[in-house]
């Protein structure tokens, strides 16, 4: 398990792609927002938490099809499925690696990009907390989508279509925490919900992911 995690991390850093790409995408989306809605700072302040959450979500989505597709193409998934590691565990580890490489940098980048969008001072802490709590769920749900579409040629678009509706609850609660935080409101309930989603998904989703992956390997 540890070996798999280390290997995935090492690959992500060496191949470059996965690691920098998500961050760059997040930056570009954030920069494009003022161009599309105008530079009024009070408007930007109001939409900043939601825009940053959406940007993080899309950046996460962008790298999902690499989560399993590369291992599928070179036969690693076949070999992993016959190895003495449970596929559920292997998928959890791969989702964790995806989060460490994609989600975690987004968490750290978000406050910097918050400056660009004129985020309210009270919002920084809650933005970071909500992203830290919520983005793991995005990776785990994404692993399910990747397992579902791994056998399909050019499944990238389909993957987005399948995964985005599944992201709705996480996005709603995550953005709600960030928004309430920025407005100085109480954030307890949505934060609890968000944490509940992340833990529930991390506990149960790998079983569904492993099931569909086994179906795809047949």
């Amino acid at each position: 398990m540890r070996a798999l995690l280390l290997r995935d991390l090492r690959l992500a850093f060496r191949a470059g792609g996965g690691f920098g790409l998500g961050l760059a995408f997040f930056l570009i989306v954030t920069v494009l927002v003022p161009f599309s809605v105008g530079p009024q700072s009070e408007l930007l302040t109001r939409i900043a938490p939601g825009v940053l959450w959406l940007g993080a979500l899309l950046a996460c989505l962008l790298s999902l099809d690499r989560l399993l597709a590369l291992d599928w193409e070179d036969g690693t998934l076949d070999l992993l499925a016959t190895a003495p590691v449970p596929l559920e565990g292997a998928l959890s580890v791969k989702a964790l690696a995806h989060w460490l490489v994609t989600g975690l940098p987004l968490v750290f980048a978000a406050p910097v990009l918050g400056v660009l969008l004129n985020l309210a001072p009270a919002g920084y802490l809650w933005l970071v907390i909500s992203l830290a709590v919520g983005t793991p769920a995005l990776s785990v749900i994404g692993a399910f989508g990747a397992a579902l579409t791994v056998g399909i040629k050019r499944g990238g678009l389909l993957l987005s279509l399948l995964v985005l509706p599944l992201y709705v609850p996480t996005l709603i609660f995550g953005a709600e925490v960030a928004r309430r935080g920025a407005q100085g409101l109480e954030v307890g309930t949505p934060l609890l919900m968000l944490a509940g989603i992340t833990f529930g998904v991390a506990a149960l989703m790998p079983f569904a992911s492993a099931t569909v992956l086994r179906m795809n390997l047949r």
Partner: protein, 244 residues
């Protein structure tokens, strides 16, 4: 009494549905025509909503069937995963386009009704939003069916997606309720208030609901038959190829 699992045999299913379908089509058509004409021509206007109240005869049954169709797909998916009856998987596949049309009708009539009532085509009302999300789930489900060549793998994968999707649909429903409360305190504008609809509206509404249910059954039976025939055609062609 014969076990209902007998109908899991595709040939038997085709023969039975052949007998039932004409009756279903006629009943569905009759209920819809009667219900809609009754509702459209012979019900009074609401004192507050005016004649727009007539839209409930379409909106409410469609919304009901949009959810029921997904529930039916969920049950059919479970049956396929547990008992591996091909008819069940194909019935789920056949129901999805019907369900998505029902969702679309609910959304369109909702938007048209909202225009004069709320002064806008679309409001992020919790119920409307939930249906929009349901619509996205239907699209994903159908796209996955279309993308996989091997019919058994497609049935397997879409069934799991349907299960997982159901959990997330329920989660989304609660999330949306929570999310909109945050915007305008409990000011839920909605078309659905059967609870306090008077009898004059209620009876034609019941007939319309019956019509939509029957139409749904007829369409699903018919479309399942179509899917079975397509599979049978493929199976026969494959056997010809194997013999040659």
């Amino acid at each position: 009494m014969a076990s209902i699992w007998e109908y899991a045999n595709p040939v038997k299913f085709l023969r039975t549905s052949e007998k039932v379908l004409p009756v279903l089509w006629v009943l569905a058509g009759a209920c819809l025509v009667i219900g809609l004409i009754w509702g459209f021509f012979f019900t009074p206007d609401d004192y507050r909503q005016g004649s727009t109240v007539k839209i409930i005869y379409l909106h409410v049954p469609a919304a009901l069937m949009a959810i029921n169709a997904w529930l039916m797909m969920l049950v059919a998916s479970l049956i396929w995963l547990v008992r591996r009856h091909h008819v069940s998987a194909l019935a789920a596949k056949a129901a999805a386009p019907v369900g998505v049309t029902m969702t679309l009708i609910a959304l369109v009539t909702g938007a048209i009704w909202g225009q004069p009532m709320w002064g806008t085509w679309w409001a992020w009302d919790p119920r409307l939003t939930s249906f929009l999300i349901l619509f996205l789930f239907y699209l994903g489900y159908m796209a996955l069916w279309a993308a996989i060549e091997d019919p058994d793998s497609a049935a397997d994968l879409t069934s799991v997606l349907c299960l997982v999707g159901s959990v997330f649909a329920v989660l989304s429903r609660y999330a949306v309720l929570f999310w909109n409360q945050g915007l305008h305190q409990g000011a839920s504008l909605s078309l659905d208030k059967e609870e306090n609809v008077a009898d004059v509206f209620y009876l034609p509404l019941l007939v319309c609901i019956a019509g939509f249910v029957l139409l749904f059954l007829a369409l699903v039976l018919y479309r399942t038959g179509t899917e079975i025939r397509l599979r049978r055609t493929q199976a026969l062609i494959r056997r010809e190829a194997a013999r040659a």
